[in-house]
């Protein structure tokens, strides 16, 4: 399995376990996850997100066969172009994670468009977590909304050459992002950690509408137990070929390297 939705480091509002590279790899071994796409949990609330990227770079250096680091870049903050260059050229980071509501900008802002354009020029993927935590448990200091799916719809349309990975989201089946007739480019994949596999079965609905090529496995670890996402694929009413695409194949196309 390849997990496109994993994290390292500390989170501001809750202690995390398994949040070092060694700890996360040990958890991956236990759960049968070959590779994981990671970014800094601390950078979500650091003013200077680049400090988090430096931490992730140091942590992952000895685990590049297992951990694929992404850069958290805040385009509304000073020096993002320098940070992007360092993350791509020096740290070998393969993509971005964007936190518009946490970093006080919107996906439609000019600065964000500039960042996505620059990342695309470098061949980097752009991962957008729809949320970090369930809003019901939010800390009293913060009230951060989910990224509106409508904003993502506009972004994927504006950047048809960019490869987007949408993580920690739900409700796609009822939005243009989940409909085959919405005239959007097929430049985005949807990660399954918050999608249902039973009852409402949003994963099944998205396979029917977009195809299994557009879904990717992710857990949200170590914020989340990885097991619910693993369980979803196990109980999903889909062909083994489709499941294999979701577990590994689609992400392997995005990140290359050993298929694991």
């Amino acid at each position: 399995m390849i997990d496109v939705n994993a994290y390292l480091g500390h989170f501001a509002f809750r202690q995390l376990r398994h949040n070092t590279a060694d700890g996360l790899v040990a958890l991956m071994d236990k759960k049968g996850i070959a590779r994981a796409v990671v970014s800094s949990a601390a950078a979500i609330t650091y003013r200077d997100a680049q400090s988090g990227n430096e931490e992730v770079h140091r942590e992952t250096q000895d685990h590049r066969d297992r951990l694929i680091p992404l850069a958290v870049i805040n385009p509304a903050y000073a020096g993002w172009k320098d940070d992007l260059k360092i993350c791509a050229d020096d740290f070998g980071m393969r993509g971005l994670r964007l936190y518009p509501p946490w970093h006080n900008y919107r996906l439609s802002d000019t600065c964000c468009f500039d960042l996505v354009a620059a990342a695309t020029e470098r061949g980097m993927v752009v991962s957008i977590p729809i949320r970090v935590e369930d809003s019901r448990q939010r800390h009293w200091l913060v009230d951060v909304p989910d990224v509106p799916l409508a904003d993502i719809t506009a972004l994927v349309k504006a950047f048809p050459r960019t490869q987007f990975i949408l993580v920690n989201g739900a409700g796609f089946a009822g939005s243009p992002l989940g409909r085959k007739d919405s005239d959007l480019p097929s430049n985005y994949v949807i990660e399954i950690s918050r999608l249902t596999a039973l009852l409402g079965n949003e994963i099944g609905q998205l396979i029917a509408s977009l195809g299994a090529d557009r879904l990717v496995f992710g857990t949200g670890m170590p914020f989340n137990y990885p097991d619910p996402a693993i369980l979803k694929i196990k109980v999903l009413d889909a062909s083994e070929d489709d499941k294999e695409k979701i577990r590994r194949g689609n992400a392997a196309k995005l990140f290359g390297g050993p298929a694991g």
């Binding site: 809750r14 019901r136 097991d227 979803k232």
Partner: protein, 298 residues
């Protein structure tokens, strides 16, 4: 579910071979009690917080069937279900109708669906009559309370006293947010349940959906010194460590497995929790079976 089917399902979702093997000897049955011949300490898997679907939805029958199919896939033997009115406060006719549909569900899915009697305690005597009728005459296993009243309000006291008399638990919808939830001004939280438990230490109170009720660390900590309050694990939140913290702070005996219809979230948390197998067995069904065995009426 046949033994071979259960073993396949249980092994397939990651339950341990030892647990699955022990469980395979215990087929779903009509009542919650362990029957003679069932290996001791090998409880059924009981989801203590589930919902059948309101018949106002045209898809209710299909949705009920899907719930049972999901339970089959996840190795859940019994689901303790209620139906809530779409709008609150529930009227007397509204909750009676929901309970009639639960009784129907108990017949349609005999041995799989156990029934909570849902009432609005503000209804007074009709709510008490409904609980007595459902539990004593129709075999319901507990009382479900939602958010019409905070559970420390005196209007609830007769309901709690009746549940004690009948020997059934009360599942209280609960949550604690670090902000005021305008849509649920009378929402109960773990602190309210702890207060109610101090007034009624004989009551079996279940604090609903720690994984869907906001700040779960707060909820677990506030219940530490309320030994007669159980905590159900349900909800869509699958934060790492939630089950382990509940066990560490409350003790294994006070934690109850549930999904609240978030099926893979509910079972996935249990698979992921880093706990001894014996503890998981208790949480998955043993503790709830103990609660159900205390019912004083049939």
């Amino acid at each position: 579910m046949k033994r071979r089917e259960f073993l396949t399902a249980a092994a397939g979702i990651g339950l341990s071979a030892a647990w699955a093997g022990a469980r395979a000897g215990a087929a779903p049955k009509d009542g919650p009690e362990q029957k003679p011949g069932q290996p001791p300490g090998k409880p059924l898997v009981i989801d203590c917080h589930a919902h059948l679907h309101h018949h106002g939805s045209s898809a209710w029958e299909e949705d009920d069937r899907k719930l049972i199919e999901a339970a089959d896939k996840l190795g859940i033997d019994q689901l303790c279900c209620s139906i809530l009115t779409p709008r609150r406060p529930a009227t007397v006719e509204g909750f009676r109708e929901c309970n009639r549909w639960i009784a129907d569900g108990m017949r349609r899915f005999s041995g799989r669906v156990l029934g909570y009697c849902y009432v609005n305690p503000g209804a007074g005597q009709p709510a008490l009559d409904e609980i007595r009728r459902c539990v004593a005459e129709q075999g319901f296993m507990g009382v479900k309370l939602y958010n019409e009243h905070t559970c420390t309000e005196p209007v609830l006291f007769p309901v709690v006293e009746l549940a004690i008399e009948l020997g059934v638990p009360i599942l209280q919808h609960a949550g604690h947010m670090n902000f005021f939830l305008e849509s649920q001004p009378h929402l109960s939280d773990g602190g309210h349940l702890a207060e109610l438990a101090r007034r009624y230490p004989e009551a079996m109170l279940i604090c609903g959906h720690v994984g869907g009720g906001g700040d779960w660390q707060w909820t677990i900590k506030v219940l530490r010194n309320a030994p007669t309050v159980y905590l159900d694990t349900s909800g869509s939140v699958v934060d790492d460590g939630i089950v382990e913290m509940a066990v560490r702070v409350l003790g294994t005996d006070r934690v109850l497995f549930a999904c609240d219809n978030s099926m893979t979230a509910g079972m996935g948390k249990m698979i992921g929790a880093d706990l001894p197998e014996a503890d998981k067995q208790k949480i998955l069904g043993g503790n709830m079976a103990g609660i159900l065995s205390k019912r004083r009426s049939r």
